[in-house]
Structures are given as C-alpha cells and as structure tokens.
C-alpha cells in the first residue's frame, strides 16, 4: 500500500470511528513512513537484482 493510499484510508477510518484527533498524528506518522521507505533497508522485487543491498544513506 502506498503511503498516500494508507493515509487516505486511515483518515477516513479514524473519522468513522469518531477519532478526528488522530488526523495530525496520522499525517505525522505518514511522514515517518515515507522516510523509512526511502531508506531502502529491505530488498525490493522492483530492483534489477532483487536482492537485499546495503541501506542507502540519506544523501544518496
């Protein structure tokens, strides 16, 4: 699930459950998810070799 899709679904669910106070917390969590995913700590089938490689540094 992409982070954008996750956020849309989570915000709607929180609203449905009567927890609108979660909105800023969910948006903040989405930001950390993007950061974590961008680091590339795990292998990805989308990579040419599809194997786990060393994590990229932030500057890359």
């Amino acid at each position: 699930m992409t982070v954008d899709t996750w956020l849309t679904v989570a915000l709607a669910d929180a609203e449905r459950r009567g927890l609108p106070e979660l909105k800023p917390l969910l948006e903040s969590l989405a930001a950390t998810m993007r950061t974590l995913r961008a680091a590339g700590f795990t292998g990805s089938a989308a990579n040419a070799d599809g194997v786990i490689s060393s994590a990229r540094t932030e500057s890359e």
Binding site: M1, L22, L29, L36, A39, A55, E58
Partner: protein
C-alpha cells in the same frame, strides 16, 4: 546514603534495616503528597521484610549487598498479592499471583520492597504526566516533569524514599528520568534482566534495569537482578588511554545551550584524565525515530487492541490516542523497521569496534514543564516527546548497554545527564568505565568545574 554506606553501617550494628525502612517510609509520608512518586506504599510489608532481614543477619545469614536495602518498584512489575496497575485504570482490578522474575531475584538478594511507583501510563510516554494516578513531579521543581516513563522510580531514589529502584526502558525510560532527577540510570544489555511478569510496551525493545544513587549501587542491583551467584564490588577502570567516541552528527545537533556546556565540560575532564575523545558518525542515526516508531507501534498495538475495543475510556486520552494511532501501522513497515534496526546495530558496533564506549548527553533539554507539548531548543521549537527520546532510543533498538550519569545542573538548578554506551553484552565493562568517570565528575563538581 548509598547501598554500600548502608551495608557498612548495618554490619557495624550502627543501624538496622528497620531503621532505614522507617526513614524511607517517613520520607514517603512527608513528600509523596507533593511529588506523587508512589501508587502504592507497602509500609506494613516493608516493616515485616526489614525485621526479617535484621533477624536473619543477627543469626548469621547475610544475603549480600542488598540485604535489608529498601527498594521501590515501577508499577509495571508483578509483586505478588498487589495490583500491577501500569498507572492505568485498565488494570485497576488486577492482582499479581506471583512475583515477576526480577522481583523474585531482588527478594532473594534480601531487598525490602517499600512500594510501587508511578509511571507514564503503560510506559508509553516520557513525561510521567499521563497516569491514572496523576502526574509525578520533579523533586527539583514540582512544576516540571521528572522524566519518564520511570518517573516515580527516579523521584523515590532522588529524595531518599528508597535507596534504589527497578525501572524499565523501551526508548529511554530509565535513563531519561535518571537524567531529569540527577541520579544514575542503567539500561543493561537487551535480555540481560528478565521481563517475565512485567507489563510489556514493546517485547522487541523493552529492557529492565536499575536506577540508583551511584554506579556502585547500580552494579549491586544489576547483580541481584541477574541472579549472579558470585557477588563482588565493582572496580573502576583506568581512564588513561581509553578511547571514547562522541557521535556528533544528529546527537549533538539539537541541544539546550546549558546541557551542551555541561557536556563539553565533561568531555574536557575526560581529555585531561588521559582519555582519547574522538568525534564519530553513526550514518543512519537520523532514521532512529522512524524505525523505533514502527516497532513500538506494532508491538503495542498487538498488546492493547482488545482492551482498546472493550474499554477505551479507561485509558488516559493522550495514551489512548497514541495506541489507536499505533493500530494503523502496517506489517510491511514493521519489517522495514526491523531491517533498519539491523543496520543501526551494525553501525554502532562498527564505531565501538576500536573504542571503549560512546559518550553523549542523555537528555537534550532540562526537565520540561508539566503540560508542555513543545519546547524551544536553540532557535527551533521541538515536540517534547521527540526531543526527550532523541538521544536514548537508538540503544533500545540496538540493545547495547547504556548508563546515564549526573553531569552538573543548569543555572535554574535542574540536573543534566551524560550517557555512556558500551559494547554489546559488555555491561560490566561499561560500568567499570562509568565508575571511573563518576569519580572524576564528582571531584570536578566539588571543585566547581561542573555546574
């Protein structure tokens, strides 16, 4: 009075265990209304245990350094016959049938339990203000947080309500309140002290360990908690020739000016003592918080989901919201975080491969005011929660042993803390170094070189 001072006087028949237990109970009676350190005071039980300790010693049965020592227990650990509330109404009707393993070890070592201490509800916070039993307060300024989540435990030792205490640390919950209250806090190596019989926050990251008045006391507590058979006093390491690494990027980017000044003064002391202090880098340190969050959220959500469905109103609102947030975390991000944790562990190991320890501040700010959600750090405004966890949570991820030592006070009289992080599974070596550094810091404080 330290544990060794107590033991010396006890065995010289200058006082009894009951005398000291009574003194702690009197201090609790006098100060607990103001500081709210205890959820449960076990006065009758403490007197009974202390009397037994005195009779055992008179009969020649000496259990070692913790014999007759009054200790407090974070109310996250089962003590048989009383509730383990975790500072939450969710657990108000709970009664522990047996002792947690760590409690059984303390009893075996002769410790006297004076009561159970306040904490941030379910240990899910750093300020100790979200508790079903009301906020705990900093003994140096009651309008400020004592740090958390083991805030009541830290207060109890800082004010003489107990000589030592048992806490837990998932993102810094032993070291943060130790720094905020001016005492020593030890997070041992991951798994070194049993958590069986403790309410979890994150079984992947939780650590149990002591808060104490000094490094030597923390060592006595650690030996008891591990169930060591051979008990011996800690010997200080030789400081000259040691190599310490200061991980400046990330860890020293965001520090209160007075905390920074005390930290740099401490580094100068080390250099003058012949220690090689070298700057270093942990390449992915800035990713600590995103990695940490996913793991804690996944673990906490699994534990709390059912209670959140059944009785969400029993949680304090801030903790309930954070737990509800945790339930939205995704499995794929948990796996990414576990992989990130491995990377961070390798990076810390690499820095420590040819150094004795990392040295860094414990808490980037002095104890924040109760009720504050943000705090100014230099030119920036930061979330209190994020900034309080910033320097400690990495080592819960990596499992390295870490200790916070008192390191001066601000102009307003608020304590600062300094953190030493040792090599994996080498807690005793870390404590030997910490003991030597403590002696240096104490002498410097007496000379006025540290505030």
């Amino acid at each position: 009075m330290t544990i060794d001072e107590f033991g010396g006087s006890l065995r010289a028949h200058e006082l009894t265990a009951l005398d000291v237990a009574e003194a702690c109970l009197e201090r609790i009676e006098a100060e607990n209304g103001r500081l709210n350190a205890f959820i449960l005071v076990m006065a009758d039980e403490a007197r009974r245990q202390a009397g037994e300790a005195d009779r055992a010693l008179a009969a020649g049965r000496d259990r070692g350094p913790l014999h007759g020592v009054p200790v407090s227990i974070k109310d996250l650990f089962d003590v048989r016959g009383v509730a383990t509330t975790a500072a939450s109404r969710v657990r108000e009707h709970h009664v522990a049938k047996t002792d947690a393993v760590a409690i059984a070890q303390l009893r075996r070592a002769g410790a006297v339990i004076v009561g159970k201490t306040n904490l941030h509800e379910f240990a899910f916070g750093t300020t100790n203000e979200d508790s079903a039993y009301g906020p705990a307060r900093n003994p140096y300024d009651a309008a400020r947080s004592p740090g958390g989540s083991s805030g009541g435990s830290a207060i109890s030792v800082a004010t003489g309500m107990a000589l030592a205490t048992l806490g837990s640390d998932t993102g810094g919950s032993i070291r943060i309140p130790a720094a905020a209250c001016g005492i020593v806090g030890l997070k041992p190596t991951y798994g070194e002290v049993s958590l069986e019989g403790a309410v979890p926050l994150s079984t992947t990251l939780d650590h149990a360990g002591p808060l104490a008045q000094c490094v030597g006391d923390a060592w006595h507590m650690l030996q008891a908690l591990r169930g060591d058979e051979q008990l011996y006093p800690l010997a200080a390491a030789e400081l000259r020739g040691r190599r310490l690494a200061v991980p400046r990027p990330y860890f020293c980017d965001l520090l209160d000016d007075e905390v920074r000044a005390q930290f740099e003064a401490a580094l100068d002391l080390l250099r003058r003592a012949g220690v090689q202090v070298e700057d270093s880098t942990i390449p992915h340190a800035a990713l600590t918080s995103p990695i940490y969050l996913q793991i804690v959220f996944g673990d906490a959500a699994a534990y709390h989901a059912e209670a959140l469905e059944r009785a969400p109103q029993l949680y304090t609102t801030p903790v309930r919201l954070r737990l509800e947030l945790a339930r939205y975390a995704l499995a794929e991000d948990y796996v990414r975080a576990l992989a990130g944790r491995e990377t961070l562990t390798r990076e810390v190991d690499a820095v420590l491969a040819d150094r004795d320890a990392l040295v860094l501040p414990t808490l980037p700010i002095p104890a924040p005011p109760l009720g504050a959600t943000s705090v100014d750090v230099g030119a920036s405004k930061e979330s209190v929660r994020n900034v309080m966890l910033r320097l400690t949570q990495l080592f819960d991820l990596t499992g390295h042993p870490a200790i916070s030592l008192p390191c001066g006070v601000t102009r307003a009289g608020l304590p600062c803390g300094l953190q030493l992080v040792g090599r994996g599974r080498q807690t005793e070596a870390l404590l030997r170094l910490a003991l030597a550094f403590e002696e240096l810091l104490t002498a410097a404080t007496e000379r006025g070189q540290i505030g």
